[in-house]
Amino acid sequence: MMTIPLSWWLTVAAALFSIGVYGALTRKNAIGILMSIELVLNAVNINLVAFWRYIAPHDISGQVFAIVVITVAAAEAAVGLALVLAVFRRRGSAIVEELDILKQ
């Protein structure tokens, strides 16, 4: 079963993480940024579960952490999207660059 070395998982997770960071930095729309953050959190979860599987398979902590991360991601998505919707209704836009009210 362990035909795949641990480093493959970590590399894939790194790729996912980098893409997520890129998205968070470059997307215009706030919802797009939230999606990218979900990607980053998923990369973290892959790492957690891979470490659990390869380094401490008898200690369930890795999965506990991953589930807590999922929970926090869901809470973040719920509040974040509600925030985006609220902003969108006030200002008629979800484009982050247009939300520069503090600058004016």
């Binding site: 079963m1 589930i67 999922i70 929970t71 869901a74 998505a77 719920a78 999207l81 509600a82 919707l85």
Partner: protein, 118 residues
């Protein structure tokens, strides 16, 4: 664990092809004579006005919101359910506290009228 998902994978591989086969078969059999009138959006014969993707009321979003929260509650309750007989009695009390805390959120939504369909 992998063994347990083998069947899911095999079934998934077959099931994945079924829609393609169906579509291919239909593509071979069916006539294809599109014209602009046919391809118009069907709204009971009335011409469509404006954009389809208009905004809908936030009520739908609130239902999805409460659903997400309870979905995650279930994620925590399933391990608890399976491990119930390996747990001391006080653990049950904590699980009940867990459920009641979330119930609290639902009650709040209810009181604030967020569950009310307007």
């Amino acid at each position: 664990m992998l063994k347990e998902f083998e069947f899911v994978g095999l079934l998934g591989a077959i099931t994945f092809t079924i829609p393609f086969v169906t579509l291919l078969l239909a593509w071979l059999l069916r006539p294809k004579k599109p014209n602009p009138a046919k391809q118009e959006t069907y709204e009971s014969g009335v011409q469509t006005i404006g954009d389809t993707w208009v905004r809908f009321k936030a009520q739908y979003y609130i239902y999805a919101l409460i659903f997400v929260v309870f979905d995650i509650e279930a994620v925590f309750l399933f391990p608890f359910a399976v491990a119930l007989n390996q747990l001391p009695l006080y653990a049950l009390v904590w699980a009940i506290v867990f459920i009641l805390l979330l119930f609290d959120g639902l009650l709040y939504a209810w009181r604030k009228g967020a569950l009310h369909w307007t």
